[in-house]
Amino acid sequence: MKGKAWVIGDNIDTDQIYPGKYLPLTDVKEMAKHALEGIDRLEDFSELVAQGDFVVAGVNFGCGSSREHAAVCLREVGVAMVIAESFARIYYRNTVNIGYPVLESKDITQKVQDGDVLETDASNGIIKNERTGETIQALPLSGLEREISDAGGLLQYMKKTTE
């Protein structure tokens, strides 16, 4: 996967990823339009982002509420993957359950600048930064989480294993 990085800060909560006022929306295409709208400089993110871009975030990405919208909206708007220094618990869980892989990588916001072009491999966690030439080893999913994500998500996994 190759795309441009959108670098954002620490503790980006679900209200910034997907503002609470859009919770009543149920159509994923509509949800996509509001991705990252709660971050001031990214109010128009859904128009600026290109398919296959990456979101690169600091620690505790996705803290706050349990809304799965916050994972779904990024997938639907075309973000290939979120790479964060750490994820909030429910956010991480949601990405596994919908089969939308994420990578955890310490100090990533110091190694990547806004607009850098990255090449990543979700299966082994290797991230290459074109501008710096650096190869970064991130933490890919493993164990049960990996199996669930690879099956396409929790429901697909359960159907496969219980039928």
Binding site: D15, P19, S66, R89, G143
Partner: protein, 418 residues
Amino acid sequence: MGSTIIEKIIAKSTGKELVTPDERLWVDVDLAVIRDFGGPNVILEYEEHFGDQKVHDPNKIAITFDLHVPAKDEKVAGNQKICRDFAHKQRIRNLFDVGSGVGQHVLLEKGLVNAGDIIAGTDSHMNLLGCANSFASGVGTTDIVAAWAKGKLWFKVPGTIKIVLDGNLEKPTSAKDVILHVLKNVGCEGALYKSVEICGPATENMSLSERITLTSMVTEMSGKAAFTPPHDKIMDYLKKRTNKEQVGIFPDEDAQYEEEYDFDISGLEPQIACPDSPDNVKPVSEVEGTPVDEVFIGSCTNGRYEDLYEVAQILNKNKVADGVRLIVLPSTAEVARAALDNGLYQIFFEAGAVVPNPSCGLCTTGHHGILAPGEVLVSTSNRNFPGKVGKGGEVYLASPATAATSSVKGEITVPGGA
């Protein structure tokens, strides 16, 4: 090797003698809960994958309406109807419609929570039910669909952090001030992926309501579950509500903790979390004098009868300051009823407060009382991230006593003064 509370609960559910942190296990879910918002997505996803197939067990499902209640617009009305129709079709009896109050509190009052239960909900403050000795955790939409269909969920056994509270709580300092103080030290990510046990001499006599305040804010430490080892009164409360015997679950003496914090809370001053983070905590005295536009007393952290009673003592024969809006919100219909019967509503109305129907109120940009940019709110709720109560608004988190006192003075004020 001994076990912590969460290890014991998960072990019991999986039939294993012992479980250890980081193990991934499938557990039986005793209750899987949705709310009026976010909930319709669960139903749509369930029907997309399972069509009209009967749910695994309708008695292990609950639906609570607490956020935009009664429906604030057509979209919400449609969503609530999706929930009601599904409950009817699937014979789900535990639907608590508009007017019931904040979800987890309603579940507790209605006898749906037992010691040792595993409860999952699309509500990040589910873990406050650890005050009643259950492993309750906030999860996403897909998790609930899975629990409804198969009765099971996967969990990684979390490590446990022990928080020991020593000393004595001295009024006007309250459980809220204590948990803010703890949060300041543990930090917003301090309990990420962890279970938290809050114990120690200072907690032993704490009431259910105080324990709710403590466990609810473990969410702001990013905790997965929260517990206060129960005393007899908590067990009696559960027994009365559920009509079932309750067996309390306690940690073993030699349980393994990943971290331990000790706090002596004797002499602790009232605390306040300043914008824009719940761990940006200072003594109230440091920000005294900050003008306020609005005060909110309620939420899953501080909407119990005891909270309202304390507020009524402060508001009695006082008026809310000119230009300040005070919203007082009982967490459930039962709390509201007690407040009404005991004359608290009279005091609130005479002071000039607005008292909406039991719900989450303005929390999560819900109903009643969103801020305009630049306005300042003192809230007894649990989060003050940017935009939480309206874009550009500034939110301070404090105890009911600090909030009520500040509403009368029109500025942030240390409670308990002359």
